[in-house]
Every structure is written in structure tokens, then in C-alpha cells.
């Protein structure tokens, strides 16, 4: 088995076990959309755009008193290390879209826009692990950019095990590390999304076996990662709003 840790306990990409990858994010990247954001996390790059709130595409579909979120998820064929064309009906894509839809639906204040629809489009240009969480964070920033009222941010981060050590934000080679998990199973990867203000968890997905006591540790680690990400998101929003205000000031001056 390949040793997943270097001599001094560093991971193969030089990170400590509880360290996030380099995160860069930007809002308002797509002027044609109502809201947009790009999220870079290591080599993972995700674009999110938001259209709406608008009238539902099929009016009969949403007669409720709140806005309905719909999510479309697209993974570029060249995003992974091997080329793979996925159909529009790909199961994994649908599952991720559904997880995003459910989580974000609870985060927005939908009562403000009855019988309407908010479309979120996620485009993954590069996938190097943590696609689900990067997509969630990008979507949150895009919703903020679109001016949709929200109860709180949704911050998402994953954690996993490598040779019995809990690691934060695994990349694709660490996610796929066979034998990383206890009992030689595929290394567990646990994405957690939470509302940073209350610390309440809104998404938790585990796809492999894990002893109960380890799950609590892993959840704790992922939650800490989420809080770090939430801080970065707040900083990004503050910066974006400040630049918007500055640009508005120059407009009023020329008037």
C-alpha cells in the first residue's frame, strides 16, 4: 500500500491533516446572470449562476406560498483526470443536484417570493475532490449575489480518513484511496453543510462504513472546516459589497 503521509505527517500535497486547500472565490463573475460566483478550492473549480426569482417554468408545479429552488448540475467532460462524458440523466449528477436543492431550499427565505422559481446552475470545470462542497459554497455565494434573502450562509466542507487519521478537505487522490478506511474499505468521505451562525447541520452524507465513535470525530472536524469556510465567504461578500458600493459612488459623482 502506498504511504499516504510523508515523513513528517504531511499529506502528499504538503498539507497538515487538518488543513484546507487554498480557497479563492469571487462573486459577480457572470454579468448576464442575476447572481454568480466562482469557487476555487485547490484544483477544483466550480461556477455557479442564479436566475430568478421568476415565474415557474411550469406554473402548475409551484402553487405553494414560497419560492422553489431548482438546481441543474453539469460536470465538464475534461474536469477529471480521465475524460468522461456524462449524460443529462447521470445518476451521480442528479444526486448532487438534489442534495444542493434540499439544503439551499431550507436556507432561503422562500416566503418572500410565493409561486416563483429560483434556478441555480452549477458548472464544474475542474474536479479534484470536494466537488459537492465546492458546488454548495459557490451556490451560496451566487444566491447572495442575486440578492435572495437567506436565513444564513450555507458552508460546506468534507472530511475523510487516511490510514486511521482524520483529514480535512480530501482531494481526489485521497478520496479514492483504497484501504484508507477502517477494515480496508474505501476511505470514507463525509461532506457536511451547516449554518455557521447556529452551527446546525443541514447536510450530511456518508457513503461508506465507519464506526460510530469515529463518525462523531469526523463530523466535528468537518464542522470546523465549515466554520473556516464561512469566515472566507463572509470576507468575500464584504469585499464584493464594498466594491459594488465604491462603483455606485463613482456613478453618482459623474451624475
Amino acid at each position: 500500500m502506498v504511504d499516504r503521509f510523508l515523513f513528517s505527517g504531511l499529506r502528499q500535497d504538503g498539507r497538515r491533516p487538518k488543513e484546507l486547500r487554498l480557497i479563492e472565490c469571487e462573486m459577480g463573475v457572470e454579468p448576464g446572470a442575476d447572481g454568480s460566483a466562482v469557487w476555487h478550492q485547490g484544483n477544483t473549480v466550480v461556477y455557479a449562476t442564479v436566475q430568478g426569482p421568476k415565474e415557474s417554468t411550469f406554473r402548475s408545479r409551484n402553487q405553494t406560498g414560497r419560492a422553489q429552488i431548482s438546481v441543474e448540475f453539469f460536470l465538464a467532460p475534461f474536469s477529471g483526470s480521465d475524460r468522461r462524458v456524462r449524460s443529462r440523466f447521470d445518476r451521480r449528477n442528479k444526486e448532487i443536484a438534489q442534495a444542493l436543492q434540499q439544503t439551499l431550499q431550507t436556507a432561503i427565505v422562500g416566503e418572500q417570493f410565493p409561486r416563483s422559481q429560483i434556478s441555480i446552475n452549477i458548472n464544474v470545470v475542474q474536479a479534484d475532490g470536494g466537488v459537492r462542497s465546492a458546488a454548495m459554497n459557490a451556490a451560496t455565494l451566487a444566491l447572495v449575489d442575486a440578492g435572495i434573502p437567506m436565513h444564513d450562509f450555507v458552508a460546506c466542507c468534507s472530511a475523510g480518513f487516511l490510514q486511521d487519521t482524520a483529514v480535512l478537505d480530501p482531494n481526489s487522490s485521497e478520496e479514492g484511496a483504497a484501504g484508507g478506511g477502517p477494515g480496508g474499505s474505501a476511505s470514507p468521505d463525509l461532506p457536511v453543510a451547516l449554518f455557521p451562525a447556529s452551527g446546525e447541520i443541514s447536510l450530511l452524507q456518508l457513503g461508506s462504513q465507519l464506526p460510530c465513535e469515529k463518525l462523531a470525530d469526523l463530523m466535528q472536524l468537518a464542522s470546523e472546516g465549515c466554520q473556516q469556510i464561512a469566515a472566507l465567504m463572509r470576507e468575500c461578500v464584504t469585499k464584493h459589497v464594498a466594491s459594488r458600493l465604491r462603483s455606485r459612488e463613482t456613478v453618482t459623482r459623474t451624475d
Partner: protein, 412 residues
């Protein structure tokens, strides 16, 4: 849909030689070109046609795959398994090629007013189609695509019998694949071991936004992506069975030009699409024709000619589309114009690619000399263009409005 007033505004404007955004008929919009944007692909480019808020935006990634010709015994086995009625060569016998797949990203739907399926027309119309409906070189392909999508077209189409987004993607993919592989120049260029191994370049073109002239944008972006595509220089040794065995030499870096093969773009053609807005004029055969049409202009267009052209001025795949017909004289004039426009467009485009290439080389040189992140000015000082202008980066450049009228190109 366009109102009658809007339509006549566009048509009258073009008759007077002015377009809705102020351009002359044979002028391309401003282009923003960014290369080497995807570290995980062998080559990549992003092309934006038009301004910030309304643009056609495509991203192209190239991934190389090693293909192998089947030996005689293997191909015999494959033919037995295959349906006897299928006379087409097995995919693995096609050799080195470029394979283009166009896909819309999430939330994007493309519709081309010039392409339509027959599905939503009345049964009589399907039984006896108008000559105009199947005109164009690609008529057979159109018919194929529409036959397979009769049910789809009725429910998801953009209305009035236009093709669905998926069908349009398939047609564009087929068209670009044909364009790049005609002439067979790449078949020999992509050979690794003669008669045994070859490269297949998978070109994945993603449409992020479509605001007119998608086909030309896709072809140009593909050209830019191929320009920075690098495939490893494989070491071939003779195996025990006499077959070549390939390996990547140790220590090969993905971006070292000495260890990689570059793909020449001289044989790579591009499309130039001419749309005719308004009726045919008797005096000037090119009256009403425009390049780089906006979506509204595409909707007013009655006929269009997509000409595949190389930088050497060789005409490649050419398609005539739309309900109106063209006279032979107009067609010849258009092809002449396409040759002149093609050399002007590709000349400017290739200059931009060379500029980006020099900048990258300078940046790499600076990095090798010790400073990890060279400031752009410093990298720039070693290249002749001078400092970067606004909106430019080391890997991104802006091509201004480009007039491809022969007179304008000659004076420039």
C-alpha cells in the same frame, strides 16, 4: 420572436450598411481570448465574442487519448461480432483524428433559427418536404437528427419546429468534427507508431453563453486550444511479440516543449458564417450579407453560408442553410470574400496566439531565473508588445473589432 418593427429596423439598417451595434457588415465583434486555462487538459482556451454583458462565451478543453489499430486477426473477430449490414469501418480503424463534442453547460439552451426539424410540421409536409427544407450540404444529417427526435422536438423544442438544444449540440459537434478532419492532414500528424498507435484528440467545447455566431466562436476557440495542446513524446520499444510498446519517458513535464509534441494549427480550418439579412439585391451580389451576426440578426436572416477556410486560403467544409436560395454568382462572390476574410481573421487571430505564446515563454523564463511569481510588467519587458493594456493578463488578450473587408484589411 421579433416584432415587425424591430425586424424592419434591423433590415433597413443593414441595407444602409449599419448594424444595430454600430458595426459595419463585415466586422467581427471584439474578442477576448484566454489560453491554457485548464491544468488538467492537454490544451484549452476560452473565447468571448462581444462585450461584457452580451457575449458568446465558450470554453474548449482538449484531452488526448492513445488509440490502437486492431491487428488483422482482431479486426476479423470484431467484424464477425458486428452486424453484417453495417459497412462502416470500425472506430478503432479510423486512425488519428480530432473528435469534437459540443455541450451546453447547466442552464444554457441553444437554438438555431436556421435549423429546424420536420417533426412539428404537418404529416403532408414531412411526406413531401419543400426543396428549401432539405437544402444545404448537410441536409441528410439534418433529416437523420430530426427523425430520431420526433417526440422530443414536440415537447422540448424552442417552438415552431426548431431543433432542441440537444439536437443542435449534436449537429454542431458533427459539423466541427467534419471540418477538422477533412483533408486528412491530422491523420498523419497524430500518428505515433505507423499502422499501430495514434492519438485521438477529444475536443470538448462547452457553451457558457450564446449570443450569436456560435459556430464561428467554437471553431476559433478550438483552433486556440489546439495551438497550446501538448501531447507527450512517447518512447517506443519493440516488445516480445514484435508489437511496439509505448511509454512516457521518465521525468516528462506536461508543459516542457522539448518533451512534448505540439499540434500544428496551419492545417486547422475555421468557419466563417455569412448571413443574408433582407432580400437579395440585383446590383451588388454581397448586398445584405454580414459576418458575426447577433441573435436578432440571425433571426432576420433568410439564408446563410458557413465556409470552412484555412489560413492558407483553402476552402474546406462549406454549408448553405436557410429557406432562401443563392444564385451561383453570389455563391462565387461569397467564397471569394470568405477567402479574403479568412486570411484577415486568421492572421489577426494567429498573431494574438503568438503574442500569448511569447508572454508565456517570458513568464516561464522569469520563473526559472528565481522569482516565483514574476510581476507582469517584468515579464512584459522581454517581449516586444510593451506593457499589458487593460483587461489583459499573461494568458489573456483582447482582439479589437476586426474588419475583414479586403480593402480594410489591406490598408490595416
Amino acid at each position: 420572436m421579433l416584432s415587425a418593427g424591430e425586424r424592419s429596423f434591423i433590415e433597413d439598417g443593414i441595407a444602409a450598411g449599419i448594424r444595430v451595434d454600430g458595426r459595419a457588415p463585415f466586422t467581427f465583434r471584439e474578442m477576448t481570448l484566454e489560453v491554457d486555462v485548464l491544468p488538467q487538459a492537454n490544451g484549452s482556451a476560452r473565447l468571448q465574442l462581444g462585450s461584457r454583458t452580451s457575449k458568446t462565451n465558450v470554453l474548449v478543453g482538449v484531452k488526448a487519448e492513445l488509440g490502437r489499430y486492431l491487428s488483422k486477426a482482431e479486426s476479423a473477430a470484431a467484424t464477425v461480432e458486428q452486424d453484417d449490414s453495417d459497412e462502416r469501418p470500425v472506430a478503432s480503424q479510423l486512425g488519428g483524428r480530432i473528435d469534437v463534442t459540443v455541450q451546453c453547460t447547466a442552464g444554457v439552451h441553444i437554438s438555431d433559427p436556421m435549423l429546424w426539424s420536420h417533426s412539428s410540421q404537418s404529416p403532408e409536409a414531412v411526406a413531401a418536404p419543400e426543396p428549401a427544407a432539405t437544402s444545404g450540404v448537410d441536409g441528410a444529417a439534418d433529416a437523420d437528427a430530426s427523425a430520431g427526435a420526433t417526440q422530443l422536438g414536440a415537447t422540448q423544442g424552442g417552438g415552431e419546429g426548431t431543433l432542441t438544444s440537444e439536437e443542435t449540440e449534436q449537429l454542431l459537434s458533427q459539423r466541427l468534427t467534419t471540418l477538422l478532419n477533412t483533408g486528412g492532414a491530422y491523420k498523419s500528424l497524430l500518428e505515433v507508431v505507423p499502422a499501430q498507435y495514434y492519438w485521438i484528440l477529444h475536443v470538448d467545447a462547452l457553451v457558457f453563453e450564446d449570443n450569436g455566431n456560435l459556430l464561428d466562436a467554437l471553431a476559433l476557440a478550438t483552433r486556440a486550444a489546439l495551438h497550446n495542446t501538448r501531447v507527450p513524446r512517447l518512447k517506443s520499444t519493440e516488445g516480445p511479440t514484435g508489437e511496439a510498446e509505448l511509454e512516457v519517458p521518465e521525468g516528462t513535464l506536461a508543459d516542457d516543449d522539448a518533451q512534448n509534441i505540439r499540434i500544428p494549427i496551419e492545417p486547422c480550418p475555421t468557419f466563417i458564417t455569412f448571413n443574408r439579412v433582407g432580400p437579395a439585391a440585383s446590383g451588388n451580389p454581397l448586398q445584405g450579407f454580414i459576418v458575426d451576426a447577433l441573435p436578432a440578426e440571425e433571426r432576420c436572416s433568410s439564408v446563410r453560408l458557413c465556409v470552412g477556410i484555412t489560413s492558407g486560403g483553402v476552402t474546406s467544409t462549406t454549408l448553405k442553410e436557410g429557406p432562401a436560395s443563392l444564385s451561383g454568382q453570389v455563391l462565387i462572390e461569397l467564397l471569394d470574400r470568405a477567402r479574403a476574410s479568412g486570411s484577415a481573421l486568421l492572421g489577426a487571430f494567429d498573431q494574438a496566439l503568438a503574442r500569448l505564446e511569447r508572454r508565456r515563454a517570458a513568464a516561464v523564463r522569469c520563473a526559472m531565473e528565481g522569482s516565483f511569481a514574476p510581476p507582469p510588467e517584468e515579464a512584459e519587458s522581454t517581449v516586444p508588445e510593451g506593457p499589458l493594456t487593460e483587461g489583459e493578463e499573461i494568458s489573456r488578450t483582447v482582439l479589437p473589432l476586426l474588419n475583414v473587408t479586403p480593402a480594410a484589411a489591406a490598408s490595416a
